[in-house]
C-alpha cells in the first residue's frame, strides 16, 4: 500500500509539470500581448517596458517558465493582468470555497439520486422502473448544464417563483445550481450502479445466499450492495472533473462568485496568469481525487492489492 501511494504521488509530479508546461507555452502561441490589456489607451513605450519588466515578460521564455514554476511551488501564482494587478493566489483563495461547496453538494446530491435509482433499476430488471430510470439517464446525459439551468430558472424562478433566479446568498440559492451540476453525474452513477448490480446478482455466492433462505432484501443488503458499489467509486472520482468544468457554465449562468465564473471572465479577458493557475489547480484536484478513489478501492475491497504488479 505505502509503496503504491509513493509511486502514485511521484507519478503525479510529471503530470502536473506537463500541465503547467502546456498551459504556460500555449500563452506564447496566443495572438496579441497581454500587456496591451494593461496599457489600455496610452501607448507610452516607457510604461510598456516597466510593465513588461514587472511581469517578467522581458525574460527569455524558458526562464519565465522556471520563474513561474518556482513561484508556484512557493504559493505565488503571479498577478492578474485584468483585475487591478491582484495576486492570483489571493483571488483563488477567496473564490475556491464557493466552488468547493457547490461541487461537494452536487456530488452528494448525485449519489443520493443516482445510486438508489440504479439499484431499483437493477432489482426490477427490464421492468417499468428499469425502463424509466434508463430513459431518464439518457435524457440527463444528453441535456447539457447550459440547457438545464435556464430551463430550471424559467420554471422554478420566473414562473413558479419558488427560488431566487441568481446570486449566492444562502441555501435557497444553492438548490438550482446543485441540481444542474448533479444531473449528469447522477445519471452516470445510476447507469453504472445498475450494470454493476446486475453483474453481482448473477454471481454464484448470491445464488448460495438465496438458497440458504435469506430474503431478497437481506441478500441485496448484506451480499450484493458492497460489491456492486465498488466500480461506481471510479465514476464518483471522475465526476469531480466534470463538476469543475460544469462550474464554469453553472456559475456563469447563476452569477455565483466562484472559480468557474472567474475563469470564464479571465479567458474572455486573456488574463493568462489566472488561466494558468486555474489549470494547475484543476489538475491538482483531479489527480488528488482520483488517487483517493484508488486508495479507497483498496480499503473497501481487500482483494485489491497495490503491489509492485502495477
Amino acid at each position: 500500500m505505502l509503496p503504491y501511494l509513493g509511486k502514485r504521488l511521484l507519478l503525479a509530479i510529471p503530470t502536473l509539470i506537463g500541465v503547467s508546461f502546456v498551459t504556460f507555452f500555449l500563452g506564447f502561441l496566443a495572438p496579441g500581448s497581454p500587456i496591451d490589456l494593461l496599457m489600455g489607451q496610452h501607448g507610452d513605450p516607457a510604461v510598456r517596458r516597466r510593465l513588461e519588466h514587472q511581469y517578467g515578460l522581458d525574460l527569455p521564455p524558458l526562464q519565465q517558465y522556471r520563474r513561474f514554476l518556482t513561484n508556484a511551488v512557493r504559493g505565488n501564482l503571479g498577478y492578474s493582468f485584468a483585475n487591478g494587478e491582484r495576486p492570483v493566489s489571493q483571488m483563488i483563495a477567496e473564490q475556491f470555497p464557493t466552488t468547493a461547496l457547490l461541487a461537494c453538494l452536487a456530488i452528494c446530491t448525485a449519489m443520493l439520486l443516482g445510486l438508489p435509482a440504479g439499484l431499483i433499476a437493477a432489482i426490477r430488471h427490464n421492468g417499468l422502473p428499469d425502463r424509466l430510470v434508463m430513459s431518464g439517464v439518457l435524457l440527463l446525459v444528453s441535456t447539457p448544464p447550459f440547457v438545464l439551468a435556464p430551463l430550471l430558472m424559467l420554471l422554478l424562478a420566473l414562473r413558479l417563483e419558488w427560488l431566487p433566479s441568481s446570486g449566492w446568498e444562502g441555501p435557497q440559492y444553492w438548490v438550482m445550481p446543485v441540481l444542474v451540476l448533479a444531473a449528469r453525474p447522477a445519471a452516470l452513477m445510476a447507469r453504472l450502479m445498475r450494470s454493476s448490480m446486475l453483474d453481482v446478482l448473477r454471481q454464484d455466492y448470491i445464488r448460495t445466499a438465496h438458497a440458504k433462505g435469506l430474503t431478497s432484501a437481506q441478500v441485496i443488503r448484506r451480499h450484493a450492495l458492497k460489491n456492486a458499489f465498488l466500480p461506481v467509486l471510479t465514476v464518483v472520482g471522475n465526476s469531480f472533473g466534470y463538476l469543475l468544468t460544469g462550474s464554469f457554465v453553472v456559475e456563469t449562468i447563476f452569477g455565483i462568485p466562484g472559480i468557474g465564473y472567474e475563469s470564464v471572465h479571465s479567458i474572455l479577458a486573456r488574463d493568462y496568469p489566472v488561466i494558468q493557475a486555474v489549470a494547475l489547480l484543476v489538475a491538482t484536484i483531479f489527480i488528488t481525487v482520483n488517487l483517493i478513489v484508488d486508495l479507497l478501492y483498496a480499503l473497501v475491497d481487500p482483494r485489491v492489492r497495490y503491489e509492485a504488479a502495477r
Binding site: 506537463g18 496566443a30 495572438p31 435524457l139 447539457p144 447550459f146 470564464v264 493568462y272 489538475a283
Partner: protein, 293 residues
C-alpha cells in the same frame, strides 16, 4: 475468406440490421439524425433567409407570416439560424469524430500489435491526458488561442476537440485488438505466414468495426455537446455564424420576455444529442447481443 464464412458474415450483418430495425428507439433516433442532416445540407434552400439577414421591422416577434418561428433580439430569423446552426453541430460532430477514429484506430492498433515501446508510449500519453478533465482542456486551449478570423475559429474548435477526444478511442481499440490478437484465427493466420499488414487489415479491423462504430456514435454526442459548450461560453463558433450553444447564451437576457429563444435551440441540441446516444445504445444491443442486459 471462404464462401461459407462470407455467407455467415453477411447473415450476421443482416440480423444485426433486423435487430436494429425492430428497436423503435433506434428507428426514431436514426430518423431524427437523418432529418437534421438533410435540414443542414439544404439549409440555404429551406431557411428562406441568410443566417445573418436582419429584419429590423420585426425584432423579437413571435411566429408570423415570413418568419416560421419568429425572430430573435436582432431581428434574425430563428428557423434560419437553427438550420445553419445544425450545419455547425453536425459538421463538427462528424468531422471531429472522423479525425478521432483515424488517430485512435491507427495508434490503438499500432500499440496493440507492435507492443513494446509503442504501447508504453500510448499508455503514458493517454494516462497524462486522462489526468485532466477533457472538456476543460478544450476550453483552455480554445480560450487561450482564441482566434480572430471566423475560419481560424472553426479550425481551432476542430483541432481542440479532436486533440482532446482521441485517447479514449485509442484505448478501446487497443484493448479489443489485444484480446483479438490472442485468438486462434489470428494465430492460425500468422502460422501460415500471412503478413502483418494483412492480418491487421483482414482479420483485426473487421472484428473491431462494431466496437468502434458503437463508441464513435456515442462520442459524436459528446463532441456536439463540447462544441455547444465552447460556443455557449463565447469562445467557440464566432458570430455572425450561428451555433446552437451561442443561440442559447444569447437568449438568456430574454428568458422572461421571450423564453422561446431558449427553447428552440435547446430542444434542437438535446434532440440531436439524445438521438446519437440512443442510436449508440441500440447499435451496441444489435451488434453484440451477448452484451444485452
Amino acid at each position: 475468406m471462404t464462401a461459407d464464412a462470407m455467407h455467415a458474415q453477411s447473415a450476421r450483418e443482416r440480423s444485426a440490421v433486423q435487430r436494429l430495425l425492430r428497436n423503435p428507439a433506434a428507428v426514431v433516433s436514426a430518423s431524427v439524425i437523418a432529418a437534421m442532416v438533410i435540414g443542414a445540407a439544404l439549409a440555404p434552400w429551406l431557411a428562406g433567409y441568410s443566417y445573418d439577414a436582419v429584419d429590423r421591422a420585426n425584432v423579437l416577434s413571435g411566429p408570423m407570416a415570413g418568419h416560421l418561428l419568429g425572430t430573435d433580439n436582432q431581428g434574425q430569423d430563428i428557423w434560419a439560424r437553427l438550420l445553419f446552426g445544425a450545419r455547425v453541430s453536425l459538421a463538427i460532430g462528424i468531422i471531429v469524430e472522423a479525425i478521432e477514429v483515424l488517430i485512435g484506430v491507427s495508434l490503438g492498433l499500432l500499440a496493440a500489435y507492435r507492443g513494446g515501446l509503442w504501447d508504453t508510449l500510448l499508455m503514458r500519453v493517454t494516462d497524462a491526458m486522462f489526468a485532466f478533465p477533457d472538456l476543460l482542456f478544450a476550453i483552455l486551449l480554445v480560450g487561450i488561442l482564441r482566434p480572430t478570423s471566423p475560419f481560424a475559429g472553426f479550425l481551432t474548435v476542430f483541432v481542440a476537440l479532436a486533440l482532446v477526444n482521441w485517447p479514449s478511442m485509442a484505448r478501446i481499440v487497443r484493448g479489443q485488438a489485444l484480446a483479438l490478437r490472442e485468438k486462434e484465427f489470428v494465430e492460425a493466420a500468422r502460422a501460415i505466414g500471412v503478413p502483418d499488414r494483412q492480418i491487421i487489415l483482414r482479420h483485426l479491423l473487421p472484428n473491431l468495426l462494431s466496437p468502434i462504430l458503437v463508441a464513435a456514435t456515442v462520442d459524436i454526442a459528446n463532441v456536439v455537446l463540447a462544441e455547444a459548450t465552447l460556443s455557449f461560453l463565447g469562445i467557440g463558433i464566432q458570430p455572425p455564424y450561428p451555433s446552437w450553444g451561442r443561440m442559447i447564451s444569447d437568449s438568456l437576457p430574454y428568458l422572461r420576455s421571450a423564453p422561446m429563444l431558449l427553447v428552440y435551440p435547446a430542444a434542437a441540441l438535446a434532440m440531436l444529442v439524445l438521438s446519437f446516444n440512443f442510436l449508440g445504445d441500440a447499435l451496441r444491443d444489435a451488434l453484440d447481443p451477448r452484451l444485452r442486459r
